[in-house]
């Protein structure tokens, strides 16, 4: 108890740490959730209309009307269009060749050319898909109007997006950002906390006291475990307040899961600290592992698109399970039974990391 009190005393004395603990999550949630969006809007489109027919105008009109595209640019030749893409003035160039309307009306296959800047492949694919859809719909309308017989009722698809009906990207991001937050606090801060005792030499002094291995580790774990949970509460409150992020599942469940996950993270942090002699080393080791774990976890990209080895690797990535847990509880209202496999995974993670760090933290040579 005395040890824990000392830890808190040190944390609250630290003039940089304390504001950091509360400012960072707020800033992260306010900025990242909004900024790290992958929704596509206002892609710059350049149109090179060599046909200048009612059909081509109709296509151009459809594009201008879309919120995804900003179709202010015009070129008079394909060369000009390509140059514009190269200069980065436009993201997509649509080149309509002369004779488009003629081909269409005479039932010949007609073609337009679409050039997409694919530096960002995801955006390029989306642009391509939306563009194709827009053009086809416009062309389809024209053909329908001109065709004599009434169109047959074809298959009509109606789409509804479950769990995030408005496809609000923030609902997807917020649980992810919260996960990063907890993960970073849990590992980095706890590792630093122990390594600092090594760097200042105080660990030697503590080792010559009757304080046991277990008590020492526990005292180092507990404060950041609590801080992690406070941060989670803060994050959830901010999400509710600013983004109206839903909370379909039980809050108790989220906190229970987080408590388990945090235990594992703190164990991991301590494990790192048993190897590192200086804070610099600890930072680097942590950075390396966290970067891999976080980027592979499916926070920004879907893990379903990963190669098989990536998926296999993810089975030992605790961040992957936890992000899943967070999203499922918050957006889907998953219950404990639904999340049993993930819960088992983070339990194994917690047990492994804590026991490894305890074993590795040698009080005696």
């Amino acid at each position: 108890m005395t040890l824990v009190r000392k830890e808190f005393l040190q944390i609250f004395r630290n003039r940089i740490m304390l504001p950091l603990l509360f400012v960072v999550p707020t800033v992260m949630l306010l900025i990242l959730v909004n900024a790290a969006t992958m929704e596509m809007r206002d892609r710059k489109v350049l149109i090179c209309d060599n046909d200048l027919s009612p059909t081509s105008r109709r296509i151009c009109g459809a594009i201008s009307a879309s919120t995804f595209f900003d179709a202010g640019r015009v070129a008079f030749s394909a060369h000009e269009a390509i140059a514009s893409i190269e200069k980065g003035e436009s993201d997509v160039a649509l080149i309509i060749h002369k004779g488009l309307e003629n081909d269409l009306m005479s039932q010949q296959p007609a073609a337009v050319q679409l050039i997409v800047n694919a530096v960002n492949s995801q955006q390029a694919q989306l642009s391509y898909a939306y563009m194709t859809q827009l053009i086809n719909r416009a062309v389809g309308d024209i053909l329908l109007e001109n065709a004599a017989p009434a169109p047959q009722e074809s298959i009509r698809t109606s789409v509804s997006f479950w769990y995030n009906p408005t496809l609000n990207y923030r609902f997807f991001m917020l649980p992810g950002i919260l996960t990063i937050l907890i993960t970073v606090i849990g590992t980095v801060l706890s590792a630093m906390n122990v390594v600092r005792e090594k760097e200042t030499g105080t660990i030697e002094q503590i080792n010559v006291t009757p304080v046991g291995k277990f008590a020492f580790i526990a005292s180092k774990l507990l404060p950041f475990w609590l801080i992690g949970l406070v941060e989670l509460a803060l994050g959830l409150a901010l999400g509710r307040l600013f983004y109206n992020v839903p909370m379909e599942g039980s809050i108790t469940l989220i906190f229970g899961m987080s408590a388990t996950y945090l235990t594992g993270l703190l164990g991991l942090g301590l494990f790192v600290s048993t190897f590192a002699q200086t804070m610099q080393q600890a930072t680097f080791i942590n950075f390396f592992f966290l970067l891999i774990c976080i980027l592979m976890s499916g926070i920004f990209t879907s893990t379903d698109n990963m190669p098989a080895w990536g998926k296999a690797l993810n089975t030992i990535n605790p961040v992957y399970y936890f992000i899943d847990i967070m999203r499922c509880i918050m957006l889907k209202g998953a219950t404990f039974v639904d999340l049993t496999p993930q819960f088992r995974a983070i339990c194994i993670f917690a047990a492994a990391s804590v026991s490894l760090s305890v074993l590795n933290y040698r009080k005696r040579n």
């Binding site: 200042t200 105080t202 010559v208 006291t209 009757p210 005696r364 040579n365």
Partner: protein
């Protein structure tokens, strides 16, 4: 009562401690004198149960440093060479913390540390990191004593501390000893050796001459001469070439010459040096002090 028996410890190819044995008596102020890298800290780490020896054993009042490490950690106070208190905690908080780690209240043993602590008590609310070097030492000593240990282990407590603070620190140690605490102090300063009840020389992992400082000086059979000349820089080398010289080494503003021959005379040495083209030669007999004894002892072993 501390018994160190045949301790050996190697780090890779380096033999840090080589068959080290000595005893420390109850309520003694015992000095471990030796230069940096002699093996003092390693020996201390083994003494206080932070390290296991390769062979040999340490018994503190019958407790084995390896087997009974838990019991040992309750009865020792350790002050490492590097300041190792929490710099972000205040003076009072540090003291409070170390007291509670040992399960005692500050008031219980305050009398023991009173002499030391009252100098820093006015700065009780100041973070330990903002104290001066001397005050840090006093705080560290207070923290090491607050649980009234039977054995106090001090690793180079006065390194990097000014002369006045050093003196005060040694006065404090005397008080602590009077309170019944046994203390072992490692120091590279020869002048501090004279302040101990008994001392041991340590060099290259070997222990020599365990005795009182007075006896060690008394036992020295060599005659010591202080030599000065115009060419101070080349003087030690020239002195070593004289017959019967055991060691010649710079000592303050002179060169000390330890002669094996008991009949060596100052005048004779002076003549010999003048023959070696030395100018303004002055030679006089001096009484050996601890530093001379240390150099002679180390030289003898080689």
């Amino acid at each position: 009562m501390i018994k160190v028996r045949n301790i050996c410890k190697s780090f890779g190819a380096v033999r840090a401690l080589n068959d080290v044995s000595f005893e420390v008596r109850e309520n003694e102020l015992f000095g471990l004198i030796g230069p940096d890298g002699a093996g003092k800290s390693t020996l201390f780490h083994i003494l206080i149960s932070l390290m296991k020896p390769d062979s040999g054993d340490v018994a503190l009042w019958g407790l084995d440093s390896v087997r009974d490490y838990r019991a040992i950690r309750k009865i020792i106070g350790y002050m490492p060479g590097k300041f190792s208190l929490y710099e972000d905690l205040t003076v009072e908080e540090n003291l409070q913390f170390f007291a509670s780690v040992f399960g005692v209240r500050v008031e219980e043993n305050y009398r023991l540390i009173e002499d030391v602590y009252r100098h820093i008590a006015p700065f009780g609310k100041r973070p330990a990191g903002k104290l001066s070097g001397g005050m840090k030492q006093k705080l560290a000593l207070s923290c090491a004593l607050i649980h009234k240990p039977r054995l106090l282990v001090l690793d180079e407590p006065t390194t990097g501390v000014d002369a006045v603070s050093r003196k005060e620190f040694w006065d404090n140690l005397k008080t602590v000893r009077q309170a019944g605490v046994t203390a072992i102090v490692a120091t590279p300063y020869m002048d501090e050796a004279a302040l101990c009840d008994r001392i041991a020389f340590i060099n290259n992992g070997h222990i020599f001459s365990v005795d009182t400082p007075q006896n060690i000086v008394k036992r020295t059979t060599q005659r010591i001469f202080a030599v000065r000349a115009a060419n101070m820089r080349t003087l030690p080398a020239l002195c070593r070439s004289l017959p019967g010289v055991m060691a010649a080494y710079s000592f303050g503003d002179a060169v000390h010459l330890a002669m094996n021959r008991h009949d060596a005379e100052a005048g004779e040495i002076r003549q010999q040096l003048i023959c070696l083209a030395c100018e303004k030669v002055e030679v006089k007999t001096v009484a050996p002090i601890i530093e001379d004894c240390f150099i002679i002892t180390v030289k003898n072993q080689k």
